[in-house]
Amino acid sequence: MQDRELSNATVSFGLSAAIVNVFNGLLVILKESNQDTLLAWMKTVTFHHWITHGLLDLILFVVIGFILSKTNAGKGVSMSANALILVLVLSVVIGYTLIAGFFLLE
């Protein structure tokens, strides 16, 4: 199946995790800055904004990973392990900084 360094699923879901890590941080800022609209809507979806937030992250993780795995005629995105590691680490740093920075400054 693979003479490539990483499997299609690994690159696709690794990239998906990185994308959702940043999305997660941005959603925190967006919902906390728009409590009467976005946060209120998120509360109506599952009765608690945090549950909706987690569900959105998990659904996006699965959907983006699945879509990426089907690109390039089903071969998925080609990426080296070093590049994927860099993207993952950066996404964690950016995601955590967005969240912690927002609540530190709020």
Binding site: L6, F13, W50, I51, H53, D57, A81, L88, A100, F103
Partner: protein, 155 residues
């Protein structure tokens, strides 16, 4: 019952961190014979972090409100305003990476240095984020404790 649920959260979290350390050490020294074990422990780490999420999330949604009020009225309001708010949202990154760990571990680790490196780095991120969650939990507990203590009498 609420206390048991609350205690289950750090219990599964710490066990998940330890499983992450196991994956890291095993992946660093992986051979074709031990690849299966790395995959199994990766699954275990993911399952333990998911259990920490489910128990912690249940407690946060249904039982945290009174303790939040205690923290906010006490001397350490930042235990909620910063540590809990950051923890409850950063936990999602930990959950995603723990879920990704067994996917990354399905590659041919003994034959591919790149795949091995990816598993090691993912385990490091799971361990690091797990420890940050654990440390934040300590601040939150202390915030409740200080909020429940009577104000110090003047000397």
């Amino acid at each position: 019952m609420s206390d048991l649920i609350l205690l289950s959260h750090p219990l599964f979290g710490v066990l998940g961190i330890l499983a992450g350390v196991w994956v890291l050490v095993d992946a660093l020294n992986v051979t074709p014979q031990t690849e299966g074990r790395v995959r199994s422990v990766s699954m275990l780490a993911a399952a333990l972090i998911w259990l920490a999420y489910i128990f912690g999330g249940y407690w946060y949604v249904f039982s945290y409100t009174p303790e939040k009020a205690i923290i906010l009225k006490g001397p350490w309001p930042f235990a909620h305003a910063f540590f809990m708010e950051t923890k409850e949202h950063a936990f999602f990154m930990l959950l995603l990476l723990a879920t990704f760990l067994p996917i990354a571990a399905r590659n041919k680790l003994a034959a591919s240095p790149g795949a091995r490196k990816l598993v090691c780095w993912t385990a490091v991120l799971v361990i690091g984020l797990g420890l940050m969650m654990d440390g934040s939990g300590a601040f939150i507990s202390m915030g409740v404790k200080l909020g429940l203590m009577p104000a110090a009498a003047p000397m």
